[in-house]
Amino acid sequence: MMRAGLEHYLVVSFLLFSLGLLGVVARRNLLVVYMSLELMLNAANLALVAMSRFNGNLDGQVLVFFIITVAAAEVAVGLALIVALYRRRQSAHVEDLASLKL
Amino acid sequence: MSPLTLIILLPLLAAVGVAFVPRSFRLLIRFTALLSTFVPMIVSLALFVMFDTAQGGVQFGQKADWVPSLGIQFYVGVDGINVCLVLLATIVAFAAACVSWEIQQREKEYYILLLLMAGGIMGAFASLDLFLFYFFHELALVPTFIMIGVWGRGADKNYATFKITLYLSLGALIALIGLIALYQNSGLRTFDMIELARQLKERPLSTSTQQFIFPWLMFGFGILVSLWPFHTWAPLGYGAAPTAVSMLHAGVLKKFGLYGLIRVALPMLPEGAASWVHWLVALSLGNIIYCGFVAMRQKDLNLLIGNSSVAHMGFAFLGIASFNVLGVTGAVVVMVAHGLLAALSFGLTGYLYQTAKTLEMDRLGGLLRGMPFVGTVSIMAMMAGCGLPGFANFVGEAMVFFGIWKVYPMATVAACWGALVIGAVYMLRAVRVVWHGASAPIGDAGTVAWVDAPHWWRRLPYLLLLSFLILFGAIPRLLTDKIQPEVARLLPVQKQLPVPSLAVKSSPSESPKPFSPAPLAAVAVSDSIFQHPGEARHRTERNDP
C-alpha cells in the first residue's frame, strides 16, 4: 500500500482551495460564497497541518489553531452582516450588492 | 521652560480648551482666542526687546528629545532672524483673532482651528529642529485648508480650496523630499538646524549632491511662497479665504518657504544654490514684473492685492538670490514687512467685504468720504505696497536692490521698474477707483450705509499692524541689527562674487563716524562681515531655568 506523502496532502489542499475560489467567484448566493470562503480557509489549514507534520515542528499546527479561532469569530461577524444585509435589501445575491461602484 | 514654549503652547492648549467649552458660550470662546494670542504677542515683544543683539546666536532656547533614534528633538530658540519672525507671527495672530469677530457660524470650530493654525505658525518659526519646523508648518497648514473650505467666501470657494490644498501639499511634499535627502546625505543623524549648518559648513556635501538636493528645496519652498509660475493658487486662495486665514497665511505662514531657503538651503547647500541661483533670479522677476502686470488687470480688489502680494515675494527671492549679507538681510526685512502689510491689506479688504458685500472695483468708488478711517489706513497700506519710504517695505526692497545690484545689474533694473512704476500703477489705480472719486451707489439696493470701524477694538488690529509697519520703516535698525549678524553667520564664506565690470575694487575700512570728515569709506562686497570669524560661530545658549 502506498503511503500518503506530503505531495498528496498538498494536492488535496490545492484542489479544495481551487474549488473554494471557484465557489467564491462563481456562485451567486452570498451564503454559498461564504461557505466557499470557509473551504479555502480549511484548504490552507490542511496544507499547514501537513507541512507541520512532515517538517517535524509544531508551528503550522499552532497557526491552525489561531486560524480556526479567528475563523469562528469571522463567521459570527460575517453571518450577522449577511443577515443584516438580507433584512435591509431582501436579497442575498451578490449582483444585487453593487453599491461599491462609483 | 523657555518663553518660546509658552508662546507655542498657549494657542494650542487654548484650542484644546475651547473644544470643551459649550458652543453657546460665544464670548468666552472669543475671549480665550484673543487672550491666548495676546499673551504670546506680549511675550514675543518682550523677547524682541530683550534679545541680546551684541551677543547674537541662539537665545531663549529649550531642548528636549523627541525621537532620539532619529535625532529628532523638540528644540525651540530664537536667533536674530527668527526673533523678528516670531514677533511677526504673534502680532499677526493677534490681529487675526481680532478680526475674527466677523465670523458668525460655527464659531467654536472656527476658533479651534484658528488657534491650531496660530500655534503651528508660531512653532514653525520658533523651531530650530528641522523636523519640528516642518511638523509645525503642516500643523498650521491643515486648519488653513479646512477654514477656507468651510468659512470661505465667493463663488470659487471650492475650487480655490482644492487648488490651495493641492499646491501647498505638493510644495510641502517636494520640500520634504529635499529635506530627507539632505538629512540622509549629511549622515549626521540630527535634525538640529544649527548643528547641521555648522557641520555642513565645515564638511560640505559633494557638489553634485548639493546640486541635486537644492532644486527640491527651491521649488518645494518656492511653491509654498508662490514662486512664479507656481503662484496661481495665491490670489485665488486669498480671495476665497476668510479674512483671518488670508492674514495668517499670506502674512506669516507663507514666509515659511523663504525662511526655509534662508535657514536651510543657503547655508547647507551653498554650491547647489550657486548653480541654481540664476533660475531663482529669473523666476523672481517673473513674480515682480509679470504678477505686477497681472495685478493691473484685476477687477476684484482681493485678487489685486493677492497678485501684488505674489509680486512682493519676488523681492524676497531676489534678495536671497543675491547671496550676500545685504541682500539676504533685505529679504528677511521684506518678509517681516510684507507679513505686516499683507495682514493689514487682507484685514482691510475683509472689513470692506463685510460692509459692501462685494470687492469688485467697478461697483465700489468714492468710499473715502464714508469710511475715513478704513480708507486712510487702506491708502497707507497701498502706499506701503508700492514701496513708499517710511514703511518697512521700502527698507527691505531698497536693501535687496543694493544687495543684488553688483551681482545682477540688469535684473535690478527690471526689479526697480517693477517696484517703483508697476507697483505704483496698480496700487494708485486701486486707490483711485475704490477710495477716490465720486461715491458710487453699491449694488441694486442703492447706497449702503457705510460703517467705518466705529469702535476702538475694531480699529485695533489695523492700527497695531500699521504702527509696526511704520516703526520698522522709520527705524529699520531695530530689525537689521538683529538680522545681519545671523545672516552673516549663515551665509557661506564668499568666494569672489562675479563682480560686474562697473565695480571698482576698494579697500575695506571702518564705518564713518558722524561729525567727522570721515576717511573715504568705500566698502567692497568682501567686507569683513562676510568672512565671519570662526570663533564667533559657537555661541552659548541661554536656557531659562
Binding site: - | 517710511g390 536693501m399 521698474w417 517703483l420
Partner: protein, 624 residues
C-alpha cells in the same frame, strides 16, 4: 545742547505737527491749522538762526548699517542747504498763513494742514540730506505728500486723476534716480556726499566710462520732480489741487527739489569722463522753450503760471547743464519768492472771482483788487526780469552763463525770456486791465488780510533778493569757477550785471521791452485772443500743449496696457487654464479610465485578487 541741534527741531517740527494733527487734533480745525503754522514758523526761525550762526556743519544718525550699505539720517548744513532751508521754510510759512484764509470753510481743513506739514517735513529732509539714499527717501516722501495735496479734493475726478498722474510720472523719474544711486554706490562704494566728493577729488576718473550714464540716471530724478521734458506732463494737471498747494509745490519747493538735487550732486556730473552736462543743458533749454510756447496760449490763470514755472525750471536746469549751479540756485531762490507770490496772487484772484480761473472772464481787477494787483505786478515784473526786481539778476546770471558757454542755448534762452514777458504781459493785461469781461469781474472783492499779508511778505524778497548777496554766499559752495557772475551785495549789486557782462544784461532788457510792446499791441482792450487767427494751427497746437498727453496715453495703451492684458490673459488661460486645469484634467481622465474596472461586484474583485496572487506567486516561485 549745542546750537547745532536746533537742526533736528527744524527738520522734525513739521513732522510732529502732522502727526499731532492726524492723531489728536484733527477734529479741531482751528487748532490744527495753528499747530501746522506754528511748526512751519518754528522751522523758519530755526533755519534763520542756523543761517546766521553757521557756515557749515553736519549731523548724522546712523539709520541703516548693513554690510557695505551705510545710510545716515543726516543734516548737512552748508551754503546750499542753508539758503534752501530759508526759502522752503520762509515761503512755506507764508503759504501756510495764506492757506488759513484761503481754505476757510473746507470740510477737510485739518487734513489739509496735516498734509502741508508732512510735505514741509519731506521737503526739508531732501534739503538737509547728507547722502543720496536719504535724499531718495525724502524724494519719495515729497512725491507722496504732493500726491495727497494735489488729490486733496479727491472727490473731483480731475483732481484724483491728476494726483495719480503726478505720482506715477514722478515714479518714472525716481526709477532712474534710484538706478543712478545704485550705480554711484556700486562705483564709488558710498552714498555720502562728502565721501563721494572726497573720492572724486582724489581720483576724478573713479567712475570711468559709466560716469555719463550714472549722471543721466541721477538727472532722471530731476526730470521727474522738476517736470522736465519728457515727464513735464504732470505739472499743469497738478493745478487741480488747492491754489496754496500749487504755490507750495510748483513755486517754492517740490519742483525746485530737482534743481536743488542737481546742484547737490553737481560734482558727480562735472567729472572729466562725463558728457551728461550737455544733455542736461539741452533738455533744460528745450523744456524752457516748449513750456513758454504752451503758456502763450493758455487761458487758465493757474495753468499759465504752471507752464511759466516749467519754463523757468528749464532755464535753471539749463544753467546747471552749462556748468553753473550757482546761477541755477540763485534763480531758484528768487523764483521761489516771486512765483509763490504770483500763485498766491492768482489764488486771491480766484477767491475773489468765486473759483473762476479763465482770464478771459476777468478784466479790470486792478481796481477791484488793489493789493493783489500791485503784488501780482511785482511778481510779474520780477519774473520778466526787470531791474531792480530780483528776477532780473538771477535770470541775467543764467543768460551770462549761456553767453559764455553755448551761443545757441543763449539765443534760445533769450527767446524764452521774450516769450515769458509776452505771456505774462498778456495775463496781466487781460486779467487786471481792460474792461470787465464778466459780471463776476465787476463784483469781485479784495481778499481778507490773512491772505493779502503773505502777498506783501513775499513781495519784499521778490524785489530785494537780487541785491541781498545770495551769489556771494553760494560762491563758497561751488567755488568761483562754477559760480558764474555777481559777487557783491547791496547797492553795488544793483548795476553789477551791466558791467560784468553787458550784452546779456542789455539783451534781457531789450526782450522785456519787445515782449511788453508785442503783448500790448495784441491784447490791450482785446475781448478775445487774436493769436489763433494769426498763427493758425500752431496756436492750436500750443493751446493743446503739443498733444503730449494724447501721445503718452496712446503710448501707455500700446505698451503697458497691452502687456498687462497679455499677462492677465496668460495667467488666466495658460497658467491657470492650460497648465493647472490641464494637470487636473489629465488626472481626472486617468481616474475615469480606471473607474471602469470598479464594477462594484464582489466576485470580480475576488477574481482579480486571485489572479494577482497567482501572478505574484508565479514570479516568486517559478520565474526566479
Amino acid at each position: 545742547m549745542m546750537l547745532q541741534h536746533i537742526a533736528w527741531i527744524v527738520l522734525f517740527a513739521p513732522l510732529a505737527a502732522a502727526a499731532l494733527i492726524a492723531l489728536a487734533t484733527r477734529r479741531d480745525d482751528r487748532l490744527s491749522a495753528q499747530i501746522s503754522i506754528a511748526a512751519s514758523a518754528v522751522a523758519f526761525a530755526g533755519s534763520l538762526i542756523l543761517f546766521l550762526a553757521f557756515d557749515r556743519f553736519e549731523l548724522a544718525w546712523s539709520w541703516l548699517n548693513v554690510g557695505p550699505l551705510k545710510v545716515d539720517l543726516g543734516f548737512k548744513f552748508d551754503a546750499l542747504s542753508g539758503l534752501m532751508l530759508l526759502v522752503v521754510t520762509g515761503v512755506g510759512t507764508a503759504i501756510h498763513v495764506y492757506s488759513f484764509g484761503y481754505m476757510q470753510g473746507d470740510r477737510s481743513f485739518a487734513r489739509f494742514f496735516a498734509s502741508m506739514s508732512l510735505f514741509m517735513f519731506s521737503m526739508l529732509g531732501i534739503v538737509v540730506s547728507n547722502n543720496l539714499a536719504q535724499m531718495f527717501v525724502f524724494w519719495e516722501l515729497v512725491g507722496v505728500s504732493s500726491y495727497l495735496l494735489i488729490g486733496f479734493w479727491y472727490e473731483r475726478p480731475a483732481a484724483a486723476d491728476a494726483s495719480k498722474k503726478a505720482f506715477i510720472a514722478n515714479r518714472v523719474g525716481d526709477f532712474g534716480f534710484l538706478l543712478g544711486i545704485l550705480m554711484v554706490w556700486g562705483l564709488l562704494g558710498t552714498v555720502r556726499f562728502d565721501e563721494l566728493e572726497a573720492r572724486l577729488r582724489t581720483d576724478p576718473g573713479a567712475m570711468g566710462a559709466a560716469a555719463t550714464v550714472a549722471g543721466l540716471l541721477l538727472f532722471c530724478g530731476a526730470v521727474g520732480k522738476s517736470a522736465q521734458f519728457p515727464l513735464h506732463v504732470w505739472l499743469p494737471d497738478a493745478m487741480e489741487g488747492p491754489t496754496p498747494v500749487s504755490a507750495l509745490i510748483h513755486a517754492a519747493t517740490m519742483v525746485a527739489a530737482g534743481v536743488f538735487m542737481l546742484c547737490r550732486v553737481f560734482f558727480l556730473l562735472n567729472v572729466p569722463d562725463s558728457s551728461a552736462l550737455p544733455v542736461i543743458a539741452w533738455i533744460g533749454g528745450g523744456t524752457g522753450l516748449l513750456a513758454a510756447l504752451i503758456a502763450v496760449q493758455q487761458d487758465d490763470i493757474k495753468r499759465i503760471l504752471a507752464y511759466s514755472t516749467l519754463s523757468q525750471l528749464g532755464m535753471m536746469v539749463m544753467a546747471v547743464g552749462l556748468g553753473g549751479p550757482g546761477p541755477a540756485m540763485y534763480h531758484l531762490v528768487t523764483h521761489a519768492f516771486f512765483k509763490a507770490l504770483l500763485f498766491l496772487g492768482a489764488g486771491s484772484v480766484i477767491h475773489a472771482m468765486h473759483h473762476e480761473q479763465d482770464i478771459w472772464k476777468m478784466g479790470r481787477l486792478s481796481q477791484r483788487l488793489p493789493v493783489t494787483c500791485k503784488t501780482f505786478l511785482i511778481g510779474a515784473l520780477a519774473l520778466c526780469g526787470v531791474p531792480p526786481f530780483s528776477g532780473f539778476y538771477s535770470k541775467d546770471a543764467i543768460l551770462a552763463q549761456g553767453f559764455e558757454h553755448n551761443t545757441w542755448l543763449f539765443l534760445l534762452a533769450v527767446f524764452t525770456a521774450w516769450l515769458t514777458t509776452f505771456y505774462m504781459s498778456r495775463l496781466v493785461i487781460v486779467a487786471f486791465f481792460g474792461g470787465p469781461k464778466s459780471s463776476g469781474a465787476e463784483e469781485a472783492h479784495e481778499s481778507p488780510g490773512i491772505m493779502t499779508s503773505p502777498l506783501i511778505f513775499l513781495a519784499v524778497p521778490s524785489v530785494v533778493a537780487g541785491i541781498a548777496g545770495i551769489p556771494g554766499r553760494l560762491s563758497t559752495q561751488f567755488g568761483a569757477a562754477a559760480e558764474g557772475a555777481h559777487g557783491p551785495a547791496g547797492f553795488a549789486a544793483l548795476f553789477e550785471p551791466f558791467s560784468h557782462s553787458p550784452l546779456p544784461a542789455f539783451l534781457g532788457l531789450l526782450v522785456f521791452m519787445l515782449g511788453v510792446a508785442a503783448a500790448c499791441s495784441f491784447y490791450w482792450g482785446a475781448k478775445e485772443d487774436p493769436l489763433p487767427s494769426k498763427l493758425g494751427w500752431f496756436a492750436r497746437a500750443m493751446k493743446d500743449r503739443f498733444y503730449f498727453d494724447e501721445i503718452y496715453s496712446a503710448l501707455v495703451r500700446l505698451t503697458q496696457e497691452t502687456i498687462a492684458t497679455a499677462a492677465a490673459w496668460f495667467d488666466r488661460w495658460i497658467l491657470s487654464g492650460l497648465m493647472v486645469r490641464g494637470a487636473h484634467g489629465t488626472t481626472e481622465l486617468v481616474g475615469r479610465a480606471l473607474r471602469l474596472a470598479q464594477t462594484g461586484n464582489l466576485q470580480t474583485y475576488a477574481l482579480l485578487l486571485a489572479f494577482g496572487v497567482a501572478w505574484m506567486l508565479f514570479y516568486a516561485l517559478v520565474a526566479r
